[in-house]
């Protein structure tokens, strides 16, 4: 809302009563409420009297306290009330000094003053109003940003609790690394043991925003729940997909997921990879890839998946990760890539070292610029 002239009190300070009264009259005719002062000291007194002054028009040369002194004293208090200086033709240098000290504008005391004073006052009031409005908007924006950041920090804590803190399984060494690109992300992983089988999963929801984090939380809940009631990965994925399709609807959002089980009785590793990037099974320098066995989750409720069954040998490591690791790029635009990761995996002995080494190499490669969420999850079967 624009300022209304009737709501603005103007203080006119000039030691020449004729000029003072003339300016007061012009401004009153424009609809402003006007008070007058004989010099700077008088003006300061009236400015601080309690009446809200919306603008000051002041002469430069006045006894006791001149215009510059008045500006300086008011600005020293931190008040930004607009001050327009009245000046003669021969005092332009002084007027410039007044502008530097904090005056809003100056006008010449000449035969046009009747026209110029009204325009200058209106402009100064509007500019001040816009400045205040802008300031308020910036403060509001900062408040909202703070609130958003606070909410994100809270969501980060919740998400941290959704992910497993420590994973321990007899006969296995398990390590993980998780870093969302922002405070919250769409990556997730988990593992648990149920009826002689270790279930494990790693997932990556498309995007890496709040909606991804929301779908991540729901999906992980669904999978965990299904994993405790069903035992075959393909069946778990099929059931989860139907539920996830309902949630993501036609948004185009989806998640890649790798779900596996290790059967302690048979040493068999059964893996379903729903559009997930290849993962690695490493035994010393011998590294093999386990590739996708079907579509991503969330696109088609009728989708089905094949299961890769392999042997999880003692001493072997299963390296799961999300594409936030392999798709980071260096300054030349090259991807970190699966080959680079594969080469690093072959050199690692224990999960902790492997994770540190891989993450450090990736950090150096992309100069710590990770645009996507990154998860690395390694399960090593201890040698017999």
């Amino acid at each position: 809302m624009r300022p209304d002239s009737g709501n603005v009190n103007i203080l006119v300070a000039d030691d020449d009563p004729l000029v003072r009264e003339m300016i007061a009259m012009i401004l009153q005719d424009e609809g402003y409420a006007v008070d007058t002062a004989e010099n700077g000291v008088d003006a300061l007194k009236k400015f601080g009297s309690g009446n809200v002054i919306g603008l000051i028009v002041s002469d430069m040369n006045m006894p006791e306290m001149d215009g510059l002194g008045l500006i300086r004293t008011i600005r020293d208090t931190g008040d930004d009330v607009p001050i327009i200086i009245l000046t003669g033709n021969s005092e332009i240098t002084t007027a410039i000094q007044a502008l530097k000290t904090g005056a809003s504008d100056y006008i010449l005391k000449d035969e046009n003053i009747q026209d110029t004073i009204g325009i200058a006052v209106e402009k100064a009031i509007e500019k001040h109003f816009l400045k205040k409005q802008n300031q308020q908007l910036l403060e509001e924006l900062a408040r909202r940003n703070d609130k958003l950041e606070h909410e994100k920090a809270l969501a980060q804590k919740v998400q941290k609790n959704i992910l497993p803190r420590e994973l321990c399984f007899p006969g296995f060494e398990v390590g993980s690394f998780y870093r969302p690109s922002d405070k919250i992300g769409g990556d997730f992983f988990d593992a648990w043991e149920n009826s002689g089988k270790i279930h494990f999963l790693i997932g990556d929801v498309s995007g890496h925003s709040t909606s991804s984090a929301l779908i991540m939380a729901v999906s992980k809940g669904i999978l965990q729940s299904l994993g405790h009631t069903l035992s075959e990965p393909a069946e778990i994925i099929r059931t989860a997909n139907r539920m996830i399709c309902d949630i993501v609807s036609d948004s185009g959002m989806f998640l890649t997921l790798l779900y596996g089980t290790f059967d302690r009785a048979t040493d068999a590793l059964s893996i379903v990879s729903a559009g997930h990037n290849p993962v690695f099974m490493a035994r010393g320098k011998d590294v093999t890839r386990i590739t996708s066995t079907g579509s991503v989750l969330g696109w088609d409720p009728e989708d089905t998946w094949d299961t890769t069954v392999t042997f999880f040998a003692p001493g072997a490591s299963l390296v799961l990760y999300t594409d936030g690791l392999t798709e980071v790029r260096n300054a030349e635009g090259q991807e970190f890539g699966e080959e680079r990761l594969e080469a690093l995996i072959g050199d690692c002995i224990c999960t902790g070292t492997a994770i540190n080494s891989i993450v450090q190499h990736a950090e150096t490669f992309c100069s710590n610029d990770f645009p996507d969420d990154l998860t690395l999850f390694i399960m090593k079967r201890m040698p017999a």
Partner: protein, 120 residues
């Protein structure tokens, strides 16, 4: 990312160039949404100049594919760049989207889809 729109007979060709990622994926949805609004329902999405595509970009392709289908139209993806082809292959999006190796094949597909009025 830039999307150049041109006509090839009765069909629209949307030629995408640059990175199709989180920051640009919405633009693809908006541009394709505008085509749907104007009733251009048979579209060739050319992807040979896409330099990088992440999950948001893939999600956008799938969302616009579904949006055209819903309006009884059809979108065909052609000439995916190597990086796009790899993402399509791993996620099996190449089995969900309409794919054509050449623009000529895409036109044939769209002609057939338009004629039969089937939702592909």
């Amino acid at each position: 990312m830039e999307i150049s729109i041109s006509m090839e007979g009765d069909f629209v060709v949307a030629d995408v160039a640059g990175d199709l990622v989180a920051s640009t994926a919405e633009d693809l949805k908006v541009q394709m949404g505008k085509l749907i609004e104007k009733n251009f329902l048979f579209v060739i999405l050319e992807l040979s100049k896409v330099t990088f595509m992440d999950s948001s970009g893939l999600g956008a392709c799938m969302a616009v594919h579904k949006a055209f289908n819903e309006k009884k139209g059809s979108m065909v993806c052609t000439k995916p760049s190597e990086t796009v082809a790899k993402v399509f292959r791993v996620t099996r999006a190449d089995q969900k989207l309409n794919m054509a190796g050449t623009r000529l094949d895409a036109i044939k597909f769209l002609k057939s889809a338009a004629l039969s009025g089937r939702q592909s």
